[in-house]
Amino acid sequence: MKAIVTVIGKDTVGIIANVCSILAQNGVNVLDISQTVMREYFTMIMLVDTAGCRVDFAELADILKKDGAEHGLDIRIQREDIFEAMHRI
């Protein structure tokens, strides 16, 4: 299943490394990354494949959310379908 990870928050050193290592530890493959810093705010969007994920989706979402909170970031993972549904006919 494809999903979108979004990371939004204040820019600090090592955000990408940290999120990627959480994903790698849980067997999630990163397919695409785009990242930008807008007005000091770090915004990263990743397309990932959760087919090989070792924990269930809800648990992965909780791990990311919790890690985000510890680093002052808003980290979400959502199934790609919701964005397709809202923005493509």
Partner: protein
């Protein structure tokens, strides 16, 4: 591939603009639960509901986490109890409400709808018993919602039922301090697949079990409209339409997913702009964004007509099955902007009544003075039913004559039901009109002027 800006737009809608799935409502038929003995009938109701909806909350929460979209309520609607329990040999229908309440508690849903009767043309034995049990049923239960359909375009208005419902609303208010009235809706042209409480019931033409989804998002529409400040209204309508389309697509996706996982057919998506008391989740704010100083000002009805129609147009294309009430809700106590306007005297019951001619429901969550007579409540119901009957639309009344309160006092209903200022009612008496009873005949559907 979806673009970065599209992804961020969706995230912003969810995190900043209160976009949510308002409810996943499972409709369950109780038509096979009838039995002459009360105890057996109650057991059957309890078992049927807890069996069919056992996984509703868990699956709702799973979907919520996977899509990252809040699903605020998981609810159940059932066959009108007046139909399901008519063969039971009892005058007192309160035990059926208690069985529904226990079942709702067991499966973890906050409201269960269907303590209902359809009496637009007259009462059966079960209808009358149910109506007379409503005040006590709403006192004795926490999660049960009740609704009564008193009129339709094809049948006219049952004025005997209207007269009785005025008394029932008053009695419910007296027994519950007003709270019970927040769970009691009186309809004209009630729809059978409405997922929204308190008026949801599982209609007689519905399948054994069905999933209906209600989506919301006044904040999203309001925010989108900020992009076209001062532009002609047709441009505003276009923006509302596009926003409604996106929101409904999301509802359709969640509805299909819930239906597949629960193994229950998908019924409809109801795209209604349903406000909550939270700041930024208000229908009144949308109307004010269109250029009104305050909701209730002259122009409010026109603005609401534009909004309601544009919402429907956007929603219809986005879902394979749109149904329910689909449009804009204007519950006073559940909308921060409406509360503000009512408290400032800028929004009156008369203006709200006019607004109900062009929006999706009716006089909703309005607190009335405690000394409002039963006849006046009945007459308010009759007026709303007449608007629905003539205009071939659903209208509803959910008013709360709050014991001991008078105009200007504030009443707090708690949670999603919000708080409201007690509003003034015209003091002239309609008593002799209501006492006549009988029926208002079904209207002519041609020669429309």
């Amino acid at each position: 591939m979806i673009t970065t800006s599209e992804i961020l737009e969706t995230i912003d809608m969810i995190s900043q603009q209160h976009l949510d799935i308002r409810t996943i409502t499972m409709g369950i038929s109780l038509r096979d639960c009838g039995h002459p003995e009360v105890r057996v009938c109650c057991d059957r109701i309890y078992d049927k509901i807890t069996g069919a909806a056992r996984d509703l909350v868990r699956i709702g929460e799973d979907i919520e986490r996977e899509f990252g979209i809040p699903i605020v309520n998981k609810r159940v609607s059932v066959t009108p109890i007046a139909i399901a329990c008519e063969s039971c040999e009892t005058e007192d229908y309160v035990p059926f409400a208690e069985a529904m309440d226990r079942a709702a508690r067991e499966i973890g849903v906050n409201f269960i709808g269907g303590f209902s009767a359809l009496v637009q043309k007259g009462f059966t034995v079960g209808d009358e018993r149910l109506l007379r049990s409503i005040p006590e049923a709403l006192r004795a239960t926490e999660r049960v919602c009740s609704s009564v359909n008193v009129g339709s375009t094809r049948a006219g208005i049952n004025m005997d039922a209207v007269a009785l419902m005025g008394k029932i609303v008053k009695r419910t208010a007296d027994l519950t301090g007003g709270q019970g009235c927040a769970k009691l809706v009186i309809f004209c042209n009630a729809v059978e697949d409405n997922p929204f409480m308190a008026g949801a019931f599982h209609g007689v033409g519905e399948p054994e079990c069905v999933i209906n989804v209600g989506v919301s998002g006044p904040g999203v529409v309001h925010n989108a409209l900020k992009r076209c400040a001062g532009r002609p209204l047709n441009e505003a309508a276009e923006i509302i339409k596009k926003t409604a389309f996106r929101v409904t697509r999301m509802g359709e996706l969640v509805a299909q997913e819930a239906s597949a996982r629960l193994g229950v057919p998908f019924g409809i998506v109801d795209l209604s702009l349903a406000p909550t008391p939270a700041v930024g989740d208000s229908v009144a704010d949308i109307l004010e964004e269109l250029g009104l100083e305050s909701v209730g000002a002259p122009g409010t009805t026109a603005a609401l007509a534009l909004l309601n129609d544009a919402v429907k147009k956007g929603g219809v294309m986005a879902s394979s099955n749109v149904g329910g009430l689909s449009g804009a809700f204007i519950p006073v106590s559940e909308d921060a902007g409406m509360i503000r306007a009512a408290a400032a005297g800028k929004l009156t019951i008369e203006k709200l009544e006019a607004m109900t001619c062009v929006c999706s429901v009716g006089l909703d969550m309005i607190a009335l003075p405690g000394d409002t007579s039963a006849e006046t409540v009945s007459a308010i119901i009759a007026d709303e039913a007449a608007i629905g009957m003539i205009n071939q639309k659903t209208t509803a009344v959910r008013v709360i004559p709050v014991p001991g309160k008078t105009v200007g006092d504030f009443v707090d209903f708690g949670g999603l039901l919000g708080r409201a200022p007690v509003m003034a009612v015209n003091p002239a008496s309609p008593a002799a009109f209501i006492e006549r009873g009988g029926r208002i005949p079904a209207p002519l559907n041609s020669l429309k002027n």
